[in-house]
């Protein structure tokens, strides 16, 4: 029988990790909510962020938490032309066409990364790496807490943008009725491009956090894609704060499953939850949506 301290620590770790994963899912959620696009390249955007963080750290020696802003800008900027030139022209062809394109992009990029960076496992090193934080009976690595804090800050920032700014207003209007939005003066194309870039930037930051917490290879993206879909469905498509809660819920559930059933079932529980949510409450756990 596991000691209470171990269980408490494990659940807290799950809480923190889940909150961090929420950031990785945020980009997917926003793009899905506003553009009704299943971005199958989201996973590879995460990995791109991880590689960017990795190389920035190697080259500049700066703390990856500092360079994360650069990563966000880089991945966000890279996402802009993808939307403008690859996806935008497909707008009139229905939902499958852009999805297939993002899929094509994902496999092209994954294999380009394989060719360029090889399949070697990498991870981003930080000075705070293995230091444990002791809070009473609970012991979690300090790094988990820092990443959680970064994630929450970014999520809150995005939430404020969407709910308080005029861009956020335009975004929410375009999400629900792009035709009427255009008539009242919203440049819907620009909104979509910026939304996709925002999604990319979030993915970039999330990817760096993953690179810090775990190791990664070009193929890791696909696993995170599924986990992120689960979080998006838990939190509600396009619901930004919901994504945070969804991530935390999933993290805790996975910890519990790991303790109760064994390590191999952590990922499985995620998928089971996902399927159950889709079948029973596809709109997410919460009523209404921010976007």
């Amino acid at each position: 029988m596991l000691g209470l301290e171990i269980i408490a620590s494990s659940v807290t770790s799950g809480f923190l990790l889940g909150g961090t994963l929420a950031l990785t899912a945020l980009g997917l959620s926003i793009v899905l909510g506003v553009m009704r696009l299943i971005n199958l390249a989201h996973g590879i955007f995460l990995i791109a962020g991880a590689y960017a963080g990795f190389f920035l750290q190697q080259v500049t020696g700066l703390d990856p938490f500092v360079t994360v802003v650069v990563v966000a800008a880089v991945v966000g900027a890279a996402a802009l032309p993808v939307q403008r030139y690859l996806l935008e022209p497909l707008a009139k062809y229905g939902a499958e066409a852009p999805m297939m394109t993002t899929f094509g992009l994902a496999i092209v990029l994954e294999n380009l990364f394989l060719l360029k960076f090889s399949a070697d496992t990498r991870s981003i090193e930080t000075s705070e790496a293995a230091v444990p934080l002791q809070l009473g009976p609970i012991s979690v690595p300090l790094i988990y807490l820092i990443c959680f804090a970064v994630s929450v800050c970014v999520i809150l920032l995005v939430h404020l943008i969407v709910v308080r700014t005029s861009f956020g207003r335009d975004l929410r209007a375009s999400a629900v009725d792009p035709g009427a939005a255009a008539v009242v003066g919203v440049d819907v194309r620009r909104v979509h491009t910026l939304t996709f870039a925002l999604g990319g930037a979030c993915a970039g930051v999330g990817g760096t956090l993953i690179g810090i917490l775990f190791s990664f290879t070009p193929a890791s993206g696909a696993n995170y894609l599924l986990t992120d879909f689960t979080i998006v469905v838990l939190g509600g498509m396009g619901n930004i704060l919901g994504t945070l809660i969804g991530g935390i819920v999933l993290g805790v559930l996975q910890s519990v499953a790991g303790i109760v059933l064994g390590d191999g079932y952590r990922d499985l529980i995620g998928l089971v939850v996902f399927l159950a949510m889709l079948a029973v409450r596809p709109r997410g756990l919460f009523k209404g949506h921010a976007a």
């Binding site: 394109t101 060719l115 889709l278």
Partner: protein, 310 residues
């Protein structure tokens, strides 16, 4: 109908004159036929009934594991084992349908993706299915020719089913469900049954293909049989060939296999190029290659009729 017969006929020729084809050619033919079966089945679900699935892997895998389980434990003949393998897929479809059909559109697609992955993870964790190392098939290795014949039979069955589906009264009901499920229900269509039937038929075909694949490999494990690449390859080939078009999957399958053979030594490049082709086609030829051919034909017809008027 005629086109399907021609295609099947081409492959049948291979069966009738085995000495014309090398062993290698037979294997390629087998793979192509399997891919065509998978593509047709997927097209039935997505193109005709509107259910875009990213979970083909679930059914390929189930068929594989059922066949190996049966052949290892009973003296069942191969043909029957393949049929039962297909049946396994149909049963899985029936089991998950109440949950999966509650999801509409986008959610359905993502849900089937999760299903495939869930099956894979379950198999990895389940010790009595061999876990991560998988299972070995304890019967004799089949000859390329025998495989080819089994593949041909499956292909013929598939083409028959698709032709019936495209022209039958059932197709009217399927299209109604695809166009507007609620309105269809309001005029008396039992939409759940229509979707379930289509789903079971498509799953049967996919699982039968998976079973044959297992027979060929003689050793199966979760990553290979339930891996994402099945779902993805099927999707890619149908999109490349042309979704919803009768001959889309056939040409898509042929192209994808051909590409694989050409770039066999450069696996990353092969996948990357498939991705680029996908992107380019979706952008410039959204109806796939078959659609493109149709447009080209119409264009030529237009040109030749106007040529004499100068």
């Amino acid at each position: 109908m005629l086109g399907a017969l021609v295609i099947a006929g081409v492959f049948a020729v291979g069966a009738l004159f085995p000495h014309l084809l090398s062993d290698y050619a037979m294997q390629i033919g087998f793979r192509t036929m399997l891919y065509i079966v998978l593509g047709e089945a997927w097209n039935l679900l997505a193109g005709y009934c509107g259910l875009v699935s990213l979970g083909s892997a679930s059914f390929v895998g189930i068929g594989a594991y059922v066949l190996v389980g049966l052949l290892n434990t009973t003296p069942m003949p191969i043909g029957l084992a393949v049929v039962v393998g297909g049946g396994g897929g149909a049963v899985l479809a029936a089991l998950v349908s109440p949950a999966v059909f509650r999801m509409r559109g986008l959610y359905f697609t993502v849900g089937t993706l999760a299903l495939g992955e869930a099956m894979r993870l379950m198999m990895v964790n389940a010790p009595w299915f061999g876990g991560a190392t998988g299972l070995f098939l304890h019967v004799d290795w089949p000859s390329s020719y025998a495989l080819y014949l089994y593949g041909l039979v499956l292909l013929l069955v598939t083409e028959f089913v698709l032709s019936v589906a495209a022209h039958s009264r059932l197709s009217i009901l399927m299209r109604a469900v695809r166009d507007d499920e609620d309105a269809a229900a309001q005029v008396g269509v039992r939409t759940f049954r229509v979707k379930l039937f289509t789903f079971m038929v498509a799953s049967f075909l996919m699982s039968a293909a998976g079973a044959l694949q297992a027979y060929k490999l003689s050793a199966i494990e979760p990553y290979g049989m339930f891996g994402l690449q099945w779902s993805v390859d099927v999707l890619a080939m149908v999109i490349i060939g042309g979704m919803g078009l009768r001959y889309g999957p056939i040409f898509g399958a042929i192209l994808v296999i051909a590409l694989g053979e050409l770039l066999a030594d450069y696996p990353e490049l092969h996948i990357a190029i498939t991705g680029i082709i996908l992107i380019v086609l979706v952008r410039f030829a959204p109806k796939g290659l078959v659609g493109l051919a149709g447009q080209a034909r119409a264009w030529f017809a237009g040109r030749s009729s106007g040529a004499g008027l100068a």
